[in-house]
Subunit: 121 residues, 2 copies
Amino acid sequence: MMNEGKALEAFAALSQETRLRIVRLLVAAGPGGMSAGAIGEAMDGASSSRMSFHLSHLEQAGLVISRRDGRSIIYSAALPSLAALIEFLMRDCCQGHPEVCNPAVAALSSCCEVPKGSGCA
Amino acid sequence: MMNEGKALEAFAALSQETRLRIVRLLVAAGPGGMSAGAIGEAMDGASSSRMSFHLSHLEQAGLVISRRDGRSIIYSAALPSLAALIEFLMRDCCQGHPEVCNPAVAALSSCCEVPKGSGCA
DNA sequence: TCAATATCTCAATAAGTGTTGAGATATTGA
DNA sequence: TCAATATCTCAACACTTATTGAGATATTGA
């Protein structure tokens, strides 16, 4: 469930370049996720403490989840939270304003099957 | 067009309680918008300089637009930018992950007419 | 158990953000 | 033109956030 407070945390987490890139990377990585070290490698070799800071921030905001696997800690995208954030924006912004959600839903057609006629009435 | 840089600005703008509330207020207010003073009144009587700071921030991020009307400056929500931000999240997060966009599209049905079967394939 | 590996935690510092209050600018009606 | 109104701009300050480097913790394989 996404309330205003959680949405604020999510927006704050996504408003930092490194963290936004981490989320995109982890979404692309899929459910298998990536180790903190591998993510750091992908972020121009960011220091381990810097990675730890940003990954903790993202986990606190609920946008990623972690699990230990041997020596490594594996992070993966929390897809339900991303869905809930999109839903929050939709609910807040769509009400009475089809010109907001219609283009957004139409954009899905570039990556998904979306029937003609989807969107706000 | 929403690129990473613009998305970062938009997330930063929306990550502050007063600004998020201003956006929600202006979306609800519709195309007619509201004067800076009226918005300040709605924000627990926030000072004019504080309003000016946050409204400028939102305008810089492209989430609101302004026009002068006599002594007042009228702000209104930039709906296309909100749509573009949702689209950005959808594109980044939906690709290959129907479990993200399907719930988001399904959520639209609470405020819009969305045909059954919408969402990712 | 020991050394190596992976990550986290903490303190210090640098950089950025939000609020306030004083004052400047633009517009209107008398 | 003048006073009143609406909003913006600026400097100062407090607060928060991001980065770094040193060191602590947890796990593994020899």
